[in-house]
């Protein structure tokens, strides 16, 4: 399992960008949303391929179980 990391940037105006690394699936949202809520107001959220990777894998696995 990949090491879970966050990359956080605070620009000169205080705006914050949080990027998750190695956290697959919806779990990554829990982390960034909790931080966003603590720091201010969420302006934008982008889900990247890794998010869907685990989600799709999970769904495929569930379908296989249902098919048996």
């Amino acid at each position: 399992m990949a090491q879970e990391e966050l990359e956080i940037e605070i620009d000169a105006t205080g705006k914050v960008t949080v990027t998750t690394k190695g956290i697959k699936g919806p779990a990554c949202l829990d982390v960034v949303k909790a931080l966003a809520q603590a720091l201010g107001r969420e302006d934008a959220l982008e889900l990247t391929p890794e998010y869907y990777e685990a989600h799709i894998t999970g769904q495929a696995s569930a379908k296989q179980h249902q098919g048996r």
């Binding site: 990359e7 940037e9 620009d11 960008t17 931080l35 107001r41 990247t48």
Partner: protein, 150 residues
């Protein structure tokens, strides 16, 4: 990558926390704290003056003396809590236009916000048992932090 979130910071806190952020920010821009009672009234009338209110802020009411005054090269910046509880910055200076004072004030407030957010972030990460493994400040003053779960 999994998710990217962009957050507009909110300055919400007591005066001591605000003071810490202001102190760190103004020092990085060469401002020094001055006694608020020093001939302020005598100098104000001869200066250009502009006020900036931080909309995304809520400073808790804690006692009467909620004001920080700093100066650099004849420019005076006064941070205070306004009647509605927002953080307010008053910029005064004899040699700068109102536009120049406003621009400088906005830069100062940006640094204050950055410092406030940085300290809040570090506290939040600590509470979540996450460790800072790398930290740097770019030429554009952006703070970059890499964090790893414990």
């Amino acid at each position: 990558m999994s998710a990217v979130v962009v957050v507009t910071p909110l300055i919400i806190g007591g005066w001591p926390v605000i003071t810490a952020a202001v102190s760190a920010a103004v020092a990085s821009m060469g401002f020094v704290a001055v006694n608020a009672t020093q001939d302020v009234q005598a100098r104000v009338s001869t200066k250009n003056r502009t006020e900036i209110e931080v909309e995304d802020s809520d400073v808790f009411q804690e006692g009467l003396n909620q004001e920080i005054v700093v100066e650099r090269d004849g420019v005076r910046a006064t941070f205070s809590r306004d009647a509605r509880g927002a953080l307010k910055l008053c910029m005064e200076g004899e040699h700068l236009s109102k536009g120049e004072l406003k621009k400088l004030g906005e830069e100062l407030l940006g640094r204050v916000t950055q410092q406030f957010v940085y300290h809040k972030l570090v506290n939040e990460l600590g509470e979540r048992h996450m460790n800072v493994i790398e930290e740097s400040v770019g030429e554009d003053r952006t703070i970059r932090i890499r964090v790893r779960g414990a």
